[in-house]
Structures are given as structure tokens and as C-alpha cells.
Amino acid sequence: MNRVLGKHGWTLGLLALLVLLFGITRIIQPNFGASGLDSLSRAALPFAFATAAMVIVVIAGGIDLSVASMMAVAGVTAAVLMEGAGTGGTLFAVAVVLVAGLAMGALNGALIVVTRVPDIVVTLAMLFVWEGVALLILKAPGGTATPWLREMIVGPLVFAWLPKSLVFLAVCLAAVWVPLKRSKLGLSIYAIGSDELAAYRSGVSVGRTRIAAYALCGLLSAIGGLTLTMSTGNGEPIPGPYLLASVAAAVLGGAVLGGGRGALLGPVIAVFVLRLVRMDLTLASVDPNVTTIVEGTIMVAVVMLGGVLAMRRRRA
């Protein structure tokens, strides 16, 4: 029991925070129910994929500042390819977007490994490159999303309180994360993030692992971009506010900037916590300029509290 608590303490704490917030939501808005849950889950979707993308490179000891721009490229590509497309065309568009995501991420990783320029510099440069690419594909919001694809994240599935979008999120993340966690590559990603030299001496191909981590980051960003197009019904070339939000949720979720530690569940719960905080502040009609201050304060407070608890545990 203690071992489970110790290992998953942070995630369980976040889960408790989420439950508490749901309680607060019910107090502010007694009618909050299935439709509210659906709204929340749909809003969380792009943030959750951006965060998952960020977490993988953070675990590998890196950072990717081009996450939001890659999402924009994926979103506009999907919207352009799906214009007037049937079922076959839509599946083709999805496949192209996923491959493009992998390729963009792999290019980011390869540039870092080959040029040895720090990841923060390379991905900052690529932020502008992918932003330009998105604008070349689509000058202004446009394109369409195939209706049946959009329906995949609208409304409940089987039970009234189970949003389809939540199932979509769980299935997509599990499809990437579960095999990765059980594979040698997954172990190598943790290893290079924890101690690059030790990993190298243990026979891990550091360069290849890093490129793979960035490629997976690109893939998850592309799925995030796809969900943007699915929810809005068109492609937007200007990147949304996903970069800083993803770093915030990764840290709040227990991933350590610097690498080697973290998992996917905590950060994804953190995304829901942050979205629910925003929903509560809107429901309580708090001054919008105060809202961002509250969001930031909660983040700092939670991370600090976590630090204090971890220190106490070490002393005990």
C-alpha cells in the first residue's frame, strides 16, 4: 500500500484535487452534469495531446518548443485534405497527418542530434519554421473536417456520463504509450533522460533514442492538431496557446524538467485540473484578467506543495 502511495502519490494527489474541483463546480453550478463533463473533456482534448507530446521529450531530458506550431501544420493539412473527401479520402488524410507529424518530430530530433545545437534553440527555430509552413498551406482559417470524424468526439458513449472525447483520448494515448512503456525504446527514453552517459555506457543508442522521442512528440502533436480540426470543423494556421500550457501541465503532472522522471497519467489529469479551474472561474464570473493570475498561482502552489511533501518524506 505504502509503495503504491509512494510511487503514485503525486498522481493520486492530483486525482483528489480533480475530485475536489468537481465538488466545487457542483456547488457553483448545481446543474453541472453530463453535458458539462462532455464540454470539459472536449476542451481538454488538444491540451491533453500537446501535453502528452511534451511529456515524452521531457522524460528524454529535452523540450520541444514547436509543439503548438506542429499542431497547426497538422490541423491545416487535415482540413485541406478533407475538403470534399469521402471515407477513403478522410482515412488517407488522417494517415498523411500522422506520418507528417512523425516526420516533423523526427526532423526536430535529427537536427538536435546532428548539429548538437541545444534542443531549446533548435525547437525554437522550428517553431517559426512550422508556423510558416502552416501559413503556406492555408493563409486564413479554411478547409473542412469530415462530419463522421467530427462526430467521434461529440456526445456520450454508451453511458450518459462517459464522453466520447474522453474515450478517444484514452484510446489514442494508450495506443502510443502502452507499447512504448513496455518496449526497449521506452526504457531507453527514460535512461537518456536520467543520465545520458550512463545510458550510453549501458549500450543505449542515445542519438537514435532522442530522434525517436521527438518523432513520437511530433506524432502526438499531429493527433492534437487533428482534434483541433475535428472540434472546430476547419483548419487554423495560427498556432493556439498550447506550448506553454503543455509545459505547465507536464510539470504540474509530475514530469521533471531535466528528464528521467514522469508518466502520462499525471500530466493528463493535470490538463483536466487546469481546464476545470478555468471553467469554475467562468461559472463564478471572475474578472477575466484575474483568471490567468489564479491559474498561475494554483500551479505554483501545487508544485511547491509537492516539493515540500517530497522533502519531508525523504527526511522521515
Binding site: 446543474n31 464540454s39 488538444p46 482559417p141 470543423g233 487554423e236 498556432p239 471553467m279
Partner: protein
Amino acid sequence: MKRYLGTVAATAVLATGFGTTAFAENYTIGISNTVQGNGWREEMICAMKAQALSSGEVDSLNIAHRNTDASGQLEDIRNLIQAGVDAIVLNPSNADGVNSAIEEAIEAGIVVVAVDQAVTAPGAYILSNNQEEYAYLGAKWLFEEIGGSGSVVYMRGAAGAGADNDRDKGFQRALAEFPDVEIAHEVFTGWQQDQGKQQILDYLATGIPFDGVWTSGIDNVIVDAFLESDVPLVPIVGADNAGFVGQLASVEGFTGAAVTNPGSIGGAGVTLALQILDGDAPDSNTVLVDPMIWANNDPEGKKLIEEAQNPNLDPEWPVSVSIPGWTTYTMEEIIACKGPGE
């Protein structure tokens, strides 16, 4: 059981409420905007607050006002639906991207009014400045001013934004009418003052001659850049922002024109929403507000510019702080920027 009783009580209250008065007259209005920290948008928000207060029909405003994309606006609109507002007034991030949430709102019986830019969702009301006409009027004046031939610097808004795209259509329409005018340099200011100023300073530094500047509302800093660099002024087109309108009246040897683009359209949106809630919906779902041009080399324009001088306004705020027939607040009320209950 408790909840059940609560529901019964609420229904009873509602029933008696409807029985005694025709209109509740204490509405909650939701506001959604996706650009924060820009003078025009801040004036729009203040106009919404001032009009809600002045109408006396609004109990509270739920304001979702932040920098985000269409997906973030979907989240905000859905949160406003959850908050149970009676009407939502929004400045849409783009014409199609937020339709799904607007449709959900209308289904929930909420009145939706889009201001400034249009949305394509059926059932939504649109009260918009005519952006294509905005660019056409200013560009046409500029091209005539430079004698129908020469080169101009084209300083656009934000790449990929719906309003920028509409304005580009108007600009290109005017350009097509003047085959001897060409674009010397085209940049996106992102509707940011500092960025626009840097861009014009960079271009002035190249020394390449040009005959005029068209701006998408980032205007007073462009005039400043000419003055600071000691370069002779060329005709410049801007918006009716307080700073630029001041320059049109006071800078010696400067010929320019301001095209109106009232941020107070936000207040008009609140009025329209309240009219619909009170059962007085307009015949058409779309109401377009056409821009006017005030040129300082034309007696009529000059008179309007002089009347519009207002040193109390932030230089980035449009001087047209009210729209006759649509807004009822005073100048002091919009500058105070207070909504009901604040």
C-alpha cells in the same frame, strides 16, 4: 429528495415569475473574446460592460476574455452555456470554427450575437463592421491621393485572421482599379504597435522610395516613425484610433485619412441581444455597419476629425466610442469600464 424538492421549488418560482411580468428584465449575459491587450478589443469589452450597466436589464456579465484560438473559444462558449447565461455576445475567432458551440447554445435557448466579424451558424445574429469595405475605402482614397500611380507599403493585420483576410479582399479590389499602383512592401503587423513600428523603421532605413502607406489600424506609431527618422511624410491611411486622429489634426504637412471601425460595436451587440430577449428580434439576422472615411484634406473630413478629438481616450482606442441608436452609455461610463455589479 432534496434535489427533487429544489427543482420543484425552482419551477414554481419560474412559473410565478412568468405569471406576473412579461419580461424578467434581469438577464445574465455571457461574453467571449479571443484577443486581449489590444486597444480596439479592450474598448469593445468596455462598451459591452457600459451598455449592460446602462440598459438596467442585466444582472451580471460572465466574461471570457483571453488570447486563444477557435478551439479555446469553443471551450469558453460551452462554459458560458454551463453557466446558464441568457445570451452570448461574442467576437468570433473565425467564421466557421465556433459554429458547433454556437449551435449548442441556440439549442439550449440562448440568444447568440456575433459582433465585429460574421459567423456562418444559422440562427446566430450578426452585428458586424464591414471589413472588406473598410479596406476598400481607405485604399481607394490612398491610391487617388498618390495620383493613381506609384508604390505603397501595405501593413496588414495578423496573418491568417478572418478580419485580415476580408480586409485583403477590399484592398485587392481597390488595387485592381488602379493598374499603375504597386505594392512596394507587404508585412503583417500582427496588430501590434511595437511590431508595426519596427517594421516601418526597418523599411525606412533601406531608403527605397515609396508614395504611401496603408495600415490595418496600427497607425499612430507609423506617423511617429516618419517623424523620428526625419523622413518626409507620405499619405498614410489608418483607423479612427484616438492617437492617429490626433495626428491628422495636429501634425504639420501630414495628409492622411482615418477609416471608422467602432469598437463600440460590442455595446451595440449587447443592445441587440437584449432586444431579442425582450421579444423584439430584427427582420434580418445580419446587420452590417458600414465604415466612413475621414480625410484631413477634405473639408467635411477635417470637420469630423476636429469634432472627434478626445485627449481623455487611450491613443489605441477608436474615437467612435458610441453608435447612435445602439448605445446609450456616456463617455465617462465607457472610460470607467464598469459592468453591472462592479
